[in-house]
């Protein structure tokens, strides 16, 4: 018991800071990934062969970008993007330095997930909206996005959890966070107790996000 207390006295602040860093880093990345990924997914659906405005070349180009974006290993992206990251946020270190590559890695992934969510929307609803004189813009946000909202929320929790895994790697650029703590203390200094505590926190965090995402999606889904 005393050992546990002593452990928390020594490492509690470190682990709390790590948890906070991870949440901020992953949360911000998820948010920005959606700011970019939603328009991408919508564009792919709208310009698709059966979309509202089929545009063959643009659609093919977008599909290519999304596929290539998703096929580059994150650790390589992290390093390759260092100049770009510096240009955008002024540094390649710390939480801001990690968010840029995380967003770049996640945006194509989010684009595909958004595309899939929108594709699930019944074509009859699109036609009904058109029959009432809805513009493309109205159809996008009043039908596609609104009707697929529960599915988008489920996708967002998957994205958060995926980025959570990536954020551990971002620790190598000094972004901090639980993954970074686990590697620095466990792997480099053989302090297994700190590593195990960090991993347990990771597991709890993932569970909470997964359950929360599922709960919100179920609550809002009226089908």
């Amino acid at each position: 018991m005393e050992a546990v207390l002593a452990f928390f006295n020594q490492y509690g602040a470190l682990l709390a800071q790590g948890t906070l860093d991870t949440i901020v880093m992953t949360g911000l990345s998820t948010l920005f990934a959606y700011v970019i990924g939603i328009p991408l997914g919508v564009l792919v659906v709208v310009t698709g062969p059966a979309g509202l405005h089929p545009k063959r070349a643009l659609n093919a180009a977008l599909g290519w970008v999304l596929n290539v974006g998703r096929s580059i290993p994150f650790i390589i992206l992290l390093v390759a993007l260092i100049p770009f990251t510096r240009f955008i946020v002024g540094t390649s270190l710390g939480v801001p330095g990690a968010v840029v590559p995380l967003v770049v890695a996640a945006a194509p992934f989010v684009g595909r997930m958004v595309e899939q969510s929108l594709a699930e929307v019944d074509g009859g609803l699109i036609e009904a909206a058109q029959s009432f004189g809805a513009s493309t813009w109205h159809i996008v946000y009043k039908v596609f996005l609104r009707e697929s909202l529960p599915s988008l929320v489920r996708g967002a929790s998957i994205t958060f959890i995926t980025l959570f895994g990536y954020s551990a790697m971002a620790g190598t650029v000094g972004a901090g966070g639980l993954g970074d703590i686990a590697i620095r203390y466990g792997y480099q200094r053989y302090q297994d107790d700190v590593m195990i505590a960090a991993v347990i926190l990771c597991v709890i965090l993932v569970q909470v996000i997964q359950s929360l995402g599922g709960l919100i999606a179920r609550k809002m889904d009226k089908r």
């Binding site: 019944d122 009859g124 609803l125 036609e127 009904a128 909206a129 058109q130 029959s131 009432f132 004189g133 809805a134 513009s135 109205h138 009043k142 039908v143 609104r146 009707e147 909202l149 529960p150 179920r218 809002m220 889904d221 009226k222 089908r223």
Partner: protein, 293 residues
Amino acid sequence: MIQIEHLSKTYHNPSASGDAHHALHDVSFDIADGEVFGIIGASGAGKSTLVRCVNLLERPSSGRIIIDGVDVTGFTGKSLLELRAGMGMIFQSFSLFQQRTVLQNVTFPLELRHDPKAHREARAFELLELVGLTDKAKSYPAQLSGGQQQRVAIARALANSPKIMLCDEATSALDTRTTASILALLKDINQKLGVTMLVITHALSVADKICDKVAVIDKGRLVEMGATAQVFANPQSNVTKELLDSRIRLATAALSEEPAVLATIEASGEQDLARSGASEEPRGFGAAERKGF
């Protein structure tokens, strides 16, 4: 009110080697103001294509669509959206927005016009009263029966006070009793509000109940047209005779209840007399189960 002149529609199938499918071929007819006009024909005859051409959800390959004296065939952009807003449409599968309440479904067409919210909702309640569903305003479509969903769809179609209503197989997913009540409602709307209706159906009984005039189409061609009673009493074309024939066979079969004859009912695909279709029972139960509460 609606004039269709030499309307043709050809689908070019990109997958097959330049295969062209003539869904409509030189179809012409006029619908008078306030009329209920029926289009009947077998499945695949081109009925949906025809009705979708009227609000330009489908672009005619040739021919003209004239609404209220205005040639609308070439309408695009804003004028196209306004044209569509002036017509209401209902569908076989109801096509209600699942994540919106009944009230929000009915206000949808008004949201597109930027009506103030209070105004929209007042109008929606008026319409829900008309279709007898004011108590369901806060429900979601999944909690309603098929007949109730179609009533909501009718209220939604009327939101913009259209002069024209397009009904594509609006009762084909409903059972006999529900069909009768929906048809009565449509007739009521036609008489009270003077809405001109284009009613698409493969079921002759539907045309028989509400249409003033009918046109029969077969393989994309208009084969017969006239006052409903006249066409049914004295059919001219073989297609119409066959359609009527199968109906009489069905009626006799339903009386005799012989298994062999009943099998022909199923095969002939006439649903209005067979005892199939959606029931009036609410369907929200499954949804509640899926949520796991």
